[in-house]
Amino acid sequence: MNLEDIVQKLDLTLITLSKDLTALTPSNGYASDLLSCVMAGAEENGIWVTLQAHANIVAVAALLGLSAVIITEGAQPDEATIEKANQENITLLTTSQSTFHIVGKLWEMGIRAF
């Protein structure tokens, strides 16, 4: 299971620089909008689903070494956040779907909690 498959199946939009998404293989998933919970609960190489879209999600993703962040409910990060994500090599994906919907689909695809 790689990120390219996930992007295709869930119809996600890549908002950071284009890269080879088949090389990224998320091993687990985590969903929360509280950053400290993510700090405590998300695991390295995981995929994080949230509706937060501000710059601090990049810091959290970078510190945890997450493989991608899916931003739900149509929330859009600003340019500075995207720029920071590109610098830190963090993949940001957006969708108009809800967190519940995305997590359900990810589970169907075989992504599990750590």
């Binding site: 509280l34 400290s36 700090m39 405590a40 501000h54 070494g65």
Partner: protein
């Protein structure tokens, strides 16, 4: 052409992905004369095509600029030679088969300018001219690839050297007890730079040769402390990280307003964060709990008069775990 367009035109594979931004930068940083071939084989405009064939074969060249009295007048490529061979016209002069529509590039141009020309035309080589319009060298796509690879190799080697130097810091400097101290001033309310100090500390530790797991624990605990300074203090505060071969000590100080009920502050889920801050996803009441999970020792000294002092320790050698010494 913007950097993004340039990006799309590259062939991307797994290995280049992580360097892609650097390659883009290099396209702008490197100039044509840094990557071009300086010693240029040229053909005189009157040379016979049979001689061109012979020289090309002997010197393994697939094309060269054509000059008349030293000035550039055209380019002869393998394609031109084939056209000549096809009609068996080897006695003709170079001028008959050369391409005289000149597409050139300046020696001082950034490499990206030459790339644009290669992308938008079908030429395989570009004569390089100096500022007086004189032929100075020749540039092929291969030269650019080689130049980029050399520059990346240099980048890599310098990072390796930095890493090597940093990781030998403690071995190379002799003292009874050596330590490296990093300080970060954190501003209250500066959410834009939230996480900058912690990610710099994580990078520093990795450069010093720390295990990724240790760098991660340290990164998480400093992040929580950093966000606490941004969210909860009156004037921000200072994070001081002392790195020693056997342990990492982190001190976080601020000058207020202090913590009213420390037992409550340590309770998972308790937070005094404002509604606005909570909307940003902070104020989960997990900060101090996360820190205590990540460090080997944590001491918090709250005082309503002098602000809060938070001390954390992570041991590299687990056998050394002991109480934090008072200071």
């Amino acid at each position: 052409m913007s950097p993004a367009d340039f990006d799309k035109r590259q062939i991307i594979n797994d290995n280049t992905v992580k360097n892609i931004t650097r390659v883009e930068e290099l396209g702008y940083e490197l100039t044509v004369d840094e990557v071009m071939t300086h010693t240029v084989k040229t053909f005189d405009v009157n040379i016979k095509m049979s001689e061109v064939l012979e020289i090309s074969r002997q010197e393994h060249i697939s094309g060269a600029p054509v000059t008349k009295d030293g000035a550039l007048v055209g380019v002869l490529s393998m394609e031109d030679l084939i056209r000549c061979l096809y009609v068996n016209d080897l006695d003709a002069p170079a001028s008959k088969y050369m391409t005289s529509e000149l597409i050139t590039v300046r020696a001082t141009d950034p490499v990206v300018e030459a790339l644009k020309i290669f992308v938008s035309t079908r030429v395989g080589r570009l004569p390089v001219l100096n500022k007086n319009g004189e032929l100075e060298g020749i540039l092929t796509k291969g030269d650019i690839t080689q130049g980029l690879l050399d520059a990346l190799q240099q980048d890599y080697a310098s990072e390796e050297l930095r890493k090597y130097r940093a990781s030998h810091l403690f071995e190379d400097i002799e003292s009874d007890r050596s330590s490296l101290i990093l300080r970060y001033n954190i501003k209250q309310g500066d959410f834009t730079n939230g996480g900058a100090a912690s990610s710099n500390i994580k990078k520093a530790l990795l450069r010093l040769g720390a295990a990724p797991q240790l760098a991660r624990r340290c990164g998480i605990s400093v992040y929580e402390a950093e966000m606490n300074l941004i969210i909860h203090t009156t004037n921000g505060g200072v994070i001081r990280v002392e790195i020693e071969p056997h342990m990492i000590s982190i001190r976080v100080v601020d000058d207020g307003p202090g913590i009213e009920d420390i037992a409550l502050a340590l309770k998972p889920g308790f937070s005094t964060a404002s509604e606005k801050v909570r909307e940003l996803g902070f104020g989960a009441g997990m900060g101090l709990v996360n820190i205590s999970r990540c460090v080997d020792e944590m001491v918090i000294k709250p005082s309503l008069e002098n602000g809060t002092l938070l001390k954390m320790r992570i041991y590299l050698d687990q056998s050394r775990i002991g109480a934090i010494e008072p200071d």
